[in-house]
């Protein structure tokens, strides 16, 4: 038995990517490679859980990207949660991709699977990064390797335009804000390592970094991480919805956006130090920025008729929950944020899977077209319902646990603004999700003539469920979302380990 390590977790998808290219011409073999790689990756990541529960592991240094700053990796609870959901959902997403890409006869499938594997490798790099430089490098790499996925339908002008928005916002923010913040941290503290309590302690204590500068660097980091989609840096996320649904599902509901909020949490915890922020009275604004983002995005989502766009704005809102958890600047809030990273992932990927399933089977993309679709696609819409419950934060789904923790943290620390935001947004969530379920199950389907004019299922034959791999994946993720409610142990333990390690 080979001992697992972060390096193995990064290497597996890279090797898988190479094999995907080699086997590109034979698609069954190629898809088998993807599935086997995903399985191996989950095993490798899961083997790291015991180490993660003990707190940050020893650092493994690889290459000296800069003379004094190496590319370095370690295992710690927060990164573990992220790695675990990304690698676990990659398996289900690959099954789903097979059904979706074949069902819709998409082109350039080898490129698609290759970029997917590379994205997962970058995600593993982000999750296990042991210093800021490593995180930054993997973060930028993730932006680049997901670009071909977003522009998958190029040369269609819409895809090219979306690609520009996507890369433009993500790279501009990271180069213009995150990079100077990182270099500033390095110049003022001489360290970019991720350690509990951050690296600023000494510099703040001896006055070489004044509190306002410390707060400014934190500000640059928070807005530099555009992947966390804190408003007004959220525009890339709805734009990225032109990509094929598996991309929206795994990357723009889980891997990429979670890379953003994960970085927010990781940097706040391990580089900046939330206790330092609280001590020096900096960073309080983030709670309000995130809270406004939560409510505003939910409000925009109310008016989106395109299902994927509505889901995208819901994602923007849910991501800001996580940022808000971090912005409470205390261990309880951070624990809730970590938990919500996992909880949101299962719910949101289910919703996207369902949206793609509807598109594949019925070629419908709008909410207003979904009347009565639950009768024809009971599994898809059943899973969709569970996903919605998780988004709203109702039992028996994962969303309930994290929302409970968030509320608990807000009450305990007497941050009534956060409490208010959570209540209002829960109502808004219900207002934009429940009507979809109502339409799907309780309204009569439209008369066949109107429904079948553009769908390929014309000829009067009503469509049924999507291809079986899609149904397997969508029910699988829905089951996960429910399972986490009953057995939250792994994620809750990791989140708790994160909290316990933090200085108060």
């Amino acid at each position: 038995m080979i001992e697992s390590s972060p390096l193995l977790a990064i290497a597996i998808p890279l090797v898988g990517g190479a094999l995907i290219v080699v086997t590109g011409a034979r698609r069954n073999l190629r898809e088998a490679v993807t599935l086997v790689t995903a399985g191996c990756l989950l095993a490798a990541v899961a083997a790291l859980v015991p180490a993660a529960l003990k707190g940050p592991s020893p650092t493994i240094e690889v290459l000296h990207v800069l003379p004094e700053i190496p590319l370095a990796f370690h295992v710690e609870p927060l990164g573990m949660i992220y790695a675990l959901i990304a690698s676990g959902l990659w398996i289900l997403n690959s099954i789903y991709s097979i059904g979706y890409m074949r069902g819709n006869r998409e082109s350039h499938q080898t490129r698609f699977y290759l970029c997917f594997a590379l994205s997962i490798a970058s995600v593993m790099g982000i999750a296990f990064s042991a210093n800021m430089l490593t995180l930054f490098i993997c973060y930028e790499t993730l932006s680049l390797v997901t670009y071909p996925l977003v522009t998958h339908k190029a040369p269609k002008p819409a895809a090219v335009r979306a690609g520009r928005t996507y890369l433009g916002i993500l790279v501009s923010a990271s180069v213009l804000l995150m990079l100077p913040a990182m270099v500033g941290t390095w110049m003022y503290t001489g360290s970019l390592d991720f350690v509990h309590g951050g690296v600023f302690g000494e510099a703040l204590a001896d006055g070489s970094v004044p509190p306002w500068l410390f707060g400014f660097i934190f500000f640059l980091f928070m807005y530099g991480i555009a992947k966390a989609a804190l408003m007004p840096f959220h525009r890339w996320l709805p734009a990225a919805m032109v990509a094929p649904t598996p991309v929206s599902a795994l990357l723009h509901a889980v891997a990429v956006v979670k890379a953003g909020v994960f970085s927010v949490c990781k940097i706040s915890t391990y580089l900046i130090g939330v206790d330092k922020l609280a001590e020096f009275g900096q960073g309080g604004w983030l709670l309000y920025a995130a809270g406004i983002s939560v409510v505003a995005a939910s409000f925009i989502a109310l008016f989106q008729d395109n299902l994927k766009r509505r889901l995208a704005y819901s994602t923007v809102s849910q991501l800001s929950y996580i940022t808000m958890g971090a912005a409470m600047l205390n261990p309880l809030g951070m624990m809730a944020a970590a938990m919500h990273i996992a909880a949101h992932a299962f719910g949101k990927i289910t919703l996207f899977f369902a949206a793609g399933s509807i598109y594949t089977a019925a070629h419908k993309t709008k909410v207003s077209e979904l009347d009565g679709i639950g009768r024809r696609m009971p599994f898809t819409m059943g899973a969709f319902t569970i996903g919605c419950l998780s988004m709203i934060g109702l039992p028996p789904t994962a969303g309930f646990i994290s929302k409970w923790m968030l509320l608990g943290a807000a009450w305990t620390t007497e941050q009534y603004f956060a409490v208010g935001v959570l209540i209002v947004s829960t109502l808004l969530n219900a207002a934009y999700f429940l009507p979809i379920i109502h339409r799907a199950f309780f309204r009569a389907p439209p008369p066949p003539s109107a429904a079948s004019d553009e769908s390929s299922t014309a000829a009067g034959v009503p469509h049924g469920e999507a291809p079986w791999p899609i149904v397997v994946a969508v029910t699988g993720t829905a089951a996960c979302a429910a399972t986490v409610f009953f057995y939250p142990s792994v994620f809750a333990d990791l989140a708790f380990a994160l909290m316990r390690g933090m200085p108060t």
Partner: protein, 503 residues
């Protein structure tokens, strides 16, 4: 090699000099001149490597070579330390790779009966550039500068066989370049008047003595000398707004010449600026006002030329304007006059050379296959010339400064330098300028990968020699970006040597 070791500094210059003279005697047709040039430049790389090895054995000391054993006061001395050993190696490596690359490009663009003359001038240009880096004698710098400049004018003018606009481009460069060289000569003349010596170290010593005696306060001669030299250098290294000769010269030169000149010629100008500003005038003359002006010019240069690059429709011109912008980074870096800033300049000399070299080479391959470098010729090339376009893409990512390419390392040092003095605004302006590079690179990349080709005729991949050359540089860009241990330490060390002269 041991017998040659003491003569290494001068051999570095003589090898391409006599190699170039001999190349003119080669048969006019056939591959002989090319093989000869490849051998000469290959040997030059070996010499450069052993020079670096020699310097590394005792990094604190300077290796001095007196030509004809005349003492430095009367004769010419060559001095090699960590900084110029490094720059010489960069020039030699780029010269070698460009020579390999030149084969197909020259066969295509230069008449069959002139190949021996082409390679003769080519080697002479390399000799001049290496010489500027090696010599410690200011007048010798001027002589070698003229050798390299006159040969480069000629090389650029040879682009006329493809596009007659090369002639006016070359003439413009000739006029502006000569003004620059004359200014430098005038500046050297003033200094000679003041100090009675031409040797750089000696000149510095004399000036220090005068300063100690209080003769320098309010001395106009040194002010005039410094100003002439600075403006001359600005012209030579194409610092914005003295860059007007560059865009057309790079655009219309033969492809191989663009690759060589873009990656080495302006870098040698930057090296001269290091020597004059830090080694010669350091701590003698308060250059902070000039450096502030240079920082201003560099910053504006980054922004303005990047915008021009984003407007151009000829890919070679895009790259040329981008070169002016990238030079802005180098200027901004050393104008900070702190360790990280100067290190950024030093490291960007190499990083930009490999990045831009690879891109000009890829562009030249397109010229060879499609006949020109218009944006339209790049339509859909991603599928037709995949290896060439992949190299171009890696180069483009390097220009943007994406992590894991060499450009990122330069950017990191540059921002460090700015923040070292607490200049957040400078860091922000430079980074905002660098974002424009995303626009001009992405314009080309979108065309390469997303557009349908205009003509259906099949296009062949670039010839083997071209691919080898551009991939050496493209992979160098990645390697230097993944592991900057060596180059970073070297640049930091060179920066300390230079700044040490200033304090």
């Amino acid at each position: 090699m041991d017998a040659l070791t003491p003569h290494l500094p001068v051999l570095l210059v003589l090898t391409p000099l006599f190699g170039g003279l001999l190349a003119a005697l080669m048969p006019r047709r056939g591959p002989a001149p090319w093989i000869w040039s490849a051998l000469v430049t290959g040997f030059e790389v070996l010499l450069g490597l052993s020079m670096v090895k020699l310097v590394r054995q005792s990094p604190q000391e300077t290796i001095t070579y007196f030509i004809g054993w005349w003492p430095a006061e009367y004769g010419i001395a060559y001095e090699i330390d960590a900084l110029n050993a490094y720059v010489i190696l960069v020039v030699a490596l780029l010269a070698f790779v460009s020579t390999i690359y030149a084969k197909s490009s020259v066969e295509d663009e230069i008449p069959k009966d002139r190949h021996n003359f082409f390679y003769s001038i080519w080697l002479l240009a390399i000799s001049g550039m290496v010489g500027i880096c090696a010599t410690a004698d200011t007048f010798n710098i001027y002589v070698l500068l003229e050798i390299s400049s006159l040969t480069v004018y000629t090389l650029i003018a040879m682009g006329k066989y493809r596009d007659r606009r090369a002639l006016t481009a070359s003439l413009k460069y000739l006029i502006l370049g000569s003004i620059g060289a004359t200014f430098i000569l005038l500046g050297i003349g003033y200094l000679l008047m003041l100090t009675g010596t031409l040797n750089m170290a000696d000149m510095h010593e004399q000036l220090m003595l005068m300063k100690a005696e209080g003769d320098l306060a309010g001395n106009r001669t040194i002010l005039v000398g410094f100003t002439f030299i600075t403006v001359g250098l600005g012209l030579k290294m194409a610092m914005w707004p003295l860059h007007l000769w560059l865009p057309n010269a790079y655009t219309f030169a033969p492809s191989a010449v663009s690759a060589l000149v873009a990656s080495t010629a302006t870098k040698v100008g930057v090296y001269m600026a290091f020597r004059f500003i830090f080694t010669l005038f350091g701590s003698v003359y308060d250059s902070s006002a000039t450096l502030a002006l240079m920082a201003f010019c560099g910053t504006l240069g980054i922004i303005v030329s990047s915008i021009r690059a984003a407007q151009a429709t000829n890919v070679k011109k895009i790259l040329a304007y981008s070169s002016v912008g990238q030079l802005g980074y180098i200027v901004v870096g050393f104008s900070m006059a702190n360790e990280s800033g100067v290190a950024a300049s030093v490291i960007h000399i190499l990083n930009h050379a490999v990045t831009k070299g690879a891109m000009f080479m890829a562009c030249g391959a397109v010229v060879l296959r499609m006949g020109n470098a218009d944006l339209k010729s790049f339509y859909g090339l991603g599928r037709r010339m995949p290896a060439t376009m992949a190299a171009f893409t890696i180069g483009g990512l390097g220009l943007i400064g994406m992590p894991l390419t060499s450009g990122f390392i330069s950017k990191f040092y540059l921002i460090s330098g700015a923040l070292h003095d607490g200049k957040w605004w400078l860091a922000m302006v430079v980074l905002a300028g660098s974002l424009i590079s995303i626009i001009y690179v992405w314009r080309v990349l979108e065309v390469i990968y997303f557009k349908k080709p205009e003509k259906r005729a099949p296009v062949e991949e670039a010839p083997f020699t071209m691919l080898i050359a551009m991939w050496i540089l493209a992979s160098a860009s990645v390697i230097l970006g993944v592991d900057a241990e060596l180059t970073g330490r070297l640049a930091e060390f060179a920066a300390r040597v230079l700044i040490g002269g200033a304090t």
